[in-house]
Symmetry: C2
Subunit: 276 residues, 2 copies
């Protein structure tokens, strides 16, 4: 583990680290915020997954989350959004390839070689964090847009591994919207039955256990009706009685101004679940 | 006035506006955060001046200040750091020309034509803000690094115009450090007596009135001993009995992680002075 950045922040420490990640076959950058409590005791971990075009930097510079993590004694971990490197496949467009891993395990060439972000976030990253920092073993997950999709699908596939899940402006039905259909066809191939493991709406229909779930969605979000469509997840949850706290936030858009406005409430929500 | 950006944020509104600024002879971008209280009542104004290389964007995306402005009912105004445009002089180096206005009124060619940032921030900008938004007429000022120098010198030259002043990692003695000496020689010419009006240490020596003044400085700041040297202002204040609350913050560097960690305390400090 290399430390790329180390900065004092809210009496804790904001790190950016770099580690060799076997599953994605490249060096991954990860932001780790250690709250002041981490100096003397083990802390639970909250994983943040970012959206399209982001790196590990966006969340730590723009969300203002460290204040709340320091308040609640939670370690924040924010990985990059795709594998990176000269030998990693890419394609034209901000919504596929680098910066657009979509938190799936790709099966198709040329993507399968490195685009294994589901396995990385579910298994390799938590093992790495637990091995290198003093954690309680309790974890939760949240994210934004593509990262909200990642958080929801990862928690839904592993309901006993996460104390809670939340999302800002998530893509809840990737198999039904342009962003998801484009990359799933590329990463997973034409057989749509393989896509269902990465679709929150499909996953709630077969959920074995309920993870406390909150979603905040701005009503002025430019992607609301085309790519996000939270009403599809609401309907899927209602059909099976899956509890969902969906909050439509009047006038907010898709940006970090929205995330910053509500990240404190999300961290408090997770901190409560992580204490149980 | 053109509105370039409008975003909901902490139940208030983050604007970026563009206006024709006569004194600097160009179109200036200014960020204005209106707290929720501004919808129903007049609010006081807190001016933020940014550091070298910044635009009006850095503070509004990275400091997390809107939360506290919304809490205290304060309008935040953050202008760009220099005149901009195809006909505005520039030179090699991040520390002179565009992004480096240094909050002075330049007298030398080619700078004098547009680099009138002292007059802009002191006179034209407040007049513009008071004409376009419902303000109480009370104002305070703060800033970072070059902007900390700007805030201190503007408040010291106009002690009755500002309820309070504060700074993060300010350049307190520009006439004695490399950053200041380089640009003052270019913008103001070789006669160093003209530089004194823009040097906080020189200004406190002749202060007619005391403005409540707070400075936070990180001990791990990479510019602390070369460009910032807060001990020079501390000594200047002690010589004349000017009250200064200088706080050395252990382990913090020069970045927005430092600003974010203490901006809440600064806004509370100003809000109290603005209520009087």
């Amino acid at each position: 583990m290399d430390i790329v950045e180390r900065r004092r922040c809210f009496r804790g420490t904001q790190l950016v680290i770099r580690h060799a990640a076997a599953r994605v076959g490249c060096t991954m950058h990860v932001a780790v915020f250690l709250p002041p409590q981490a100096e003397t005791s083990a802390c639970p971990v909250l994983y943040w997954l970012s959206g399209l075009t982001c790196t590990e930097q966006n969340f730590i510079t723009k969300a203002g989350a460290q204040r709340y993590a320091a308040e609640h004694g939670v370690i924040l971990v924010a990985p990059d959004t795709s594998p990176r490197g000269a030998d990693v496949a890419d394609a034209e467009g901000y919504d596929i390839g680098l910066g657009a891993g979509f938190y799936v395990n790709a099966t198709e060439a040329p993507w399968a070689a490195h685009y294994q972000m589901a396995a990385y976030v579910e298994r390799e990253l938590p093992a790495f964090i637990d091995a290198n920092f003093r954690t309680t073993g309790r974890q939760s997950i949240l994210g934004h847009s593509m990262g909200g999709h990642g958080a929801l699908t990862i928690a839904l596939r592993n309901p006993r591994a996460y104390a809670s899940v939340s999302a800002f402006s998530p893509i809840v039905a990737p198999t039904q919207v342009p962003w998801g259909r484009k990359v799933f066809a590329a990463y997973l191939g034409p057989d749509e039955s393989t896509w269902q493991a990465y679709d929150a709406c499909a996953l709630v229909a077969n959920a074995e256990a309920h993870v406390p779930m909150r979603i905040d969605q701005g009503t002025a979000d430019e992607f609301l009706h085309t790519q996000l469509r939270p009403e599809l997840l609401q309907a899927a949850c209602q059909r099976v009685g899956y509890p969902l706290d969906l909050r439509m936030q009047e006038g907010y858009d898709h940006s970090y101004y929205f995330i910053a406005s509500f990240i404190g409430e999300h961290i408090a929500f997770h901190a409560e679940a992580l204490r149980l």
